[in-house]
Amino acid sequence: MSTIEMDPVFTAALREVLLATVRDTPRVRRRWRWRAGTGVFLGLTVAAGGVALASGMFTLPGAPVNSPLGNVVTATRTGSATIEIGAPPAGATDLSLTFTCLTAGTFDFPDGSSASCGATDLIRPPIYRTSIDVVPLTVGVDNVTIKTSANASWTLQAMYVNQVTTLWGVNASGETYGVANQNGTPDLIAVVIDDGNTHGYVKESDLNCAGGGDVTSPSEALAWDKVSQNRNVSIPVYESNGVTVVGTFTVGSATGPNAQTVPLSSLSLGC
């Protein structure tokens, strides 16, 4: 079949659409969310790096292992500020940042991500308003700037680390399991539920579907947001074998009197 080439008209049109798609895509702004009791390990963000860093004993497959280098720099500020970290020591690959909001407000981070803290977050233990992020070093940049809304207070702990990424596990069905990292997303993604008391895995396909993964246009996104205001979707949590169910993971942040949580299997989302 090497003699067959794709329809040139189709090819040219596809090429134009791809070009326009890339050019018209805005840079993504990642929004940090404070979640109560549940959380997806995102390898380079939230908990995985932090757990490995903090305890030095618990590492999920695919998670980065961060070896601390140098001292922890701690700073507490109100309003926007730049924290000087100092020059990176030899072997440093990343910067571990532990951020905690102390008052309500919004906080913008150097990588374009942002976080918001509400009054309800402040009456909970600090873990619910703390984000641990491990970010690659930027050559020549030895400081971190946090921009905030007016009078918003925060604490930042920063430390240089050397990061090595571990391999994902593979279960008997051939599915990969662990945490998402720079190599992509495993078939089974590590999660914690029950306020951190249960560890397990959700299927990437389930998570994608429950989170509105098939939204393809702004109008669809708006429609999904409207539906999601009062609806959370629960998906099964498995052991690493991908078969044994150990609980459910809730996707969504709907709260209030009309909020309900429904299993993914009860919805016809077509994904």
Binding site: I4, E5, R23, T25, V170, G184, T216, C271
Partner: protein, 198 residues
Amino acid sequence: MVRSNGDEATAWTAVLGNDGDAFVAIFDKHRDRVYRHALRMTANLHDAEDVTAGAFFELWRRRKAVRVIDGSVLPWLLVTTTNLARNLTRGLRRYRTLIAALPRADVARSAEDVALEQMEEFEIAAKVRDALIGLSPSDAALIMLIMFEHYSPAQAATALGISDGAARTRLHRARTRMAAALGALDDDNINKTEETSR
């Protein structure tokens, strides 16, 4: 223009910064190879074009999760092509309207005439496709990368996010299943299919 994997790695970095020219350079470099693989998987010209388009749309949508092997995104594209072709309806659902809007040349003529010219190859391709569909998605991707696209087990393992040893073990198992599924084809035909895929 992208000439080597070194250039491609540079182009891919530019893609991650929303560089449209870099993205279409990668499209130009890999589209024929992706299309031929899609044709092998679908045995249908029209479907193969749809799958090829879907694979590149996915390359963009999932750009932050793409595994780059030896500086190239081609293995990831081929694995994605395999997965899309295994379930056309579901895999292409999000792009259906977009793809349907793309103009085509004389569809009836090209599809029928070329299909007639390549009838024997299509028949073999259809059997290979059926055999691949009988495997798990990851095993099908493994067979495709190693047996049809001639990647090393180590490269395939990296593309699929599994260990080298696991790739070799699963390859052995998948080959056995493929051989059973392709019982109607003799070795010559299988070799022919491999050669025509290059």
